[in-house]
């Protein structure tokens, strides 16, 4: 059931009305029931993966908690215990907990790998076998990737690691943990929530609240606008431009235009979906974490990754980046470099190595394909390169007398970052890695300023009316984003308008979505791109 489908809206209306009608004590139970009903709608077979992950996560959390409680009891039983003995007990408990933690995370990763990446691995092994002259091939596994597996598996791993670190106590009620991992709007495409934040909010009791209902509904409408009016309108153009059959026919300039369109499409598709998710949760008084903060206003690629898919970036920082950077091998390496090349070099070496690991993981997280590995590598090179070359850039700026705090320089950096990221998006969108590289090469070598005529010639121009709607919609989104970027809170500001104007604004947006939204058969919109990750 797509979040933008008519059925989902009916489902949502029933869920919200009953959420406020059932006794507050069992509001969370109602959420669990509807979350599983929502999930079952996507396929009965898939639910076993979700259930399996929930049971393993719950059991592992409880085991670690028991071991930690035993250690605390041991300490409490003998107040006169000497320091050495205490250290020994701590070390022993730490080791036991670590074992459970690692085993669970490995199990999670194995399931994810088999479901998501075995096809990729098998096809690579087969192509190696073929190149070696072998005629035998490994048959592929036919597994349907369960809905939201990348999202709930990461949430489950985050929970297990947190319990292992002793950040908070393990959940004793398996149903509460099950709700955290299956909460229906966010299972589709995130955000990747954390148990100590969202897990608690989901089981709290919520009174009906006018502000939550209207703010949530506004966010949902804005999400619909981004997805239906912009993303799905521009989608066919992007599909055509990046299709293999069009490659020889189109100029690099058209492909550049396609790159810009795809940047708009993917942002509106993903952030629109997240707006709907967060809006739905807010209508029930549940605040989900922010996942986007106008990423295309970033002045560097590193900043972009703090503003795009924020919860994935935060997950990687907490559970991959910091652990590697603070690990013993890394600090040993850093010390060695310090002895040989001095303080500055010692800081740069880990700062250059770690982004490679993190970004390749981010790339692979998106899917099993060499394009995603290349996407990760590309981002890593830019981020690590900008850390390593920062002093050089500073010197150049001084020599060229650039006012680095001026507005003009900031705008330049925003456009530069947007274009650098545009290139990385080609890696994601092209049919294959080879096609992506050929497309990027073509952008820099084949020009045709009348690229619009190419689109008309091959029959995928949107037409005059659609182009106007798309242009105005993107302009509207840009203005809203610019206002937010300058600290204006749109929903709060609209909320203060005179009631008549306020409702006129709501109706206008609703009519725009209904009239200009792109709908498929049975008023179902196209699926979300991130739903497949």
């Amino acid at each position: 059931m797509a979040l933008t489908s008519f059925y989902f809206l009916v489902f949502l209306a029933v869920v919200i009305v009953l959420y406020y009608l059932v006794p507050k004590k069992i509001q969370w139970v109602w959420l669990l029931i509807v979350s599983y009903a929502f999930y079952l709608y996507s396929g009965i077979g898939q639910v076993f993966f979700l259930l399996g992950t929930t049971i393993v996560t719950y059991g592992s959390g409880l085991l670690m908690q028991k071991r930690r409680d035993r250690y605390k009891a041991e300490l409490a039983s003998d107040p006169s215990m000497d320091r050495e003995k205490k250290q020994e007990l701590k070390k022993k408990a730490g080791k036991d907990i670590h074992k459970i933690q690692v085993l669970t995370v490995v199990l999670d990763l194995v399931v994810l790998a088999v479901v998501k990446y075995s096809g990729f691995a098998i096809s690579n092994i087969n192509s190696i076998l073929k190149s070696l002259g072998s005629e035998s091939a490994i048959p592929g596994l036919k597994i349907i990737v369960p809905l939201g597996i990348s999202f709930y598996t990461f949430m489950a791993m985050g929970y297990v690691i947190d319990i292992g670190r002793g950040k908070y106590e393990a959940e004793k009620n398996p149903a509460k943990l099950a709700l955290f991992l299956s909460f229906f709007p966010s299972i589709v495409q995130g955000p990747i929530s954390r148990y100590d934040d969202v897990g608690k909010k989901l089981v709290e009791q919520h009174k009906i609240n006018y502000e939550n209902l209207t703010y949530g509904a506004q966010l949902i409408m804005f999400g619909f606008f981004k997805k239906l009016v912009i993303a799905d309108r521009v989608a066919p153009v992007v599909t055509q431009i990046f299709s293999v059959k069009m490659f020889d026919k189109l100029s690099g300039t058209t492909m550049f235009f396609g790159m810009l369109c795809y940047a708009v499409q993917i942002y509106c598709d993903f952030s629109g979906g997240i707006d709907i998710t967060r809006g739905v949760a807010q209508m029930m008084g549940i605040e989900l974490p922010l996942n986007f903060e106008r990423p295309y206003f970033s002045t560097s690629v590193a900043e972009y990754w703090r503003r795009w898919h924020i919860t994935l970036g935060a997950w990687m920082r907490e559970y991959v980046f910091y652990p590697i950077m603070l690990s013993k091998p890394m600090s040993k390496l850093s010390k060695k470099v310090k002895e040989k090349h001095g303080q500055k070099a010692s800081k740069y070496v880990p700062s250059v190595i770690t982004p490679f690991i993190v970004f390749i993981l981010i790339g692979i997280w998106h899917g099993a394909n060499w394009r995603y590995v290349a996407f990760g590598l590309y981002n890593a090179v830019i981020v690590a390169g900008s850390v390593a070359l920062e002093p050089l850039f500073k010197k150049w700026a001084e020599k060229l007398h650039i006012k680095t705090d001026s507005k003009g320089w900031k705008v330049f950096k925003i456009i530069r970052t947007f274009l650098i990221l545009g290139i990385s998006k080609i890696l994601v969108k092209a049919a294959s890695l080879k096609m992506a590289i050929k497309t990027i090469f073509k952008i820099f070598t084949s020009f045709n300023l009348a690229f619009g005529s190419e689109m008309v010639k091959y029959g995928f121009d949107l037409g005059y009316k659609n182009n106007i709607v798309l242009g105005l919609a993107v302009l509207f989104l840009f203005i809203i984003s610019l206002l937010q970027e300058n600290g204006i809170k749109i929903r709060q500001s609209v909320g203060k308008w005179f009631i008549v104007f306020r409702w006129i604004a709501y109706f206008v947006l609703l009519i725009i979505i209904l009239v200009f939204g792109i709908y498929g058969p049975e008023y179902d919109a196209a699926n979300f791109i991130y739903q497949t990750y």
């Binding site: 670190r165 002793g166 950040k167 590193a302 703090r306 920082r317 907490e318 980046f321 910091y322 652990p323 950077m325 603070l326 600090s331 850093s334 010692s346 800081k347 880990p350 700062s351 850390v387």
Partner: protein, 77 residues
Amino acid sequence: MLDRIIEILQGIRDDIDYYSEDSLIDDGIFDSFDIVGLVSELKDEFDIDIIIDDLTPANFNSAESICALVKKLQDED
């Protein structure tokens, strides 16, 4: 100890008044690379063991909070 910590912080960025600034992390003045660099210097300078759990915004938002963290970790040792 506070003065020494401020000296280390100035090595990372020298345009901040560390005596009054109290949102180094919340306001995005320090990014994760800065934090890791800072942690390794604090480890060397004060011979303490900083683990991931200590890397909270509250511990690194100001020179004073960093100082409090170092003192706490020294006492634990």
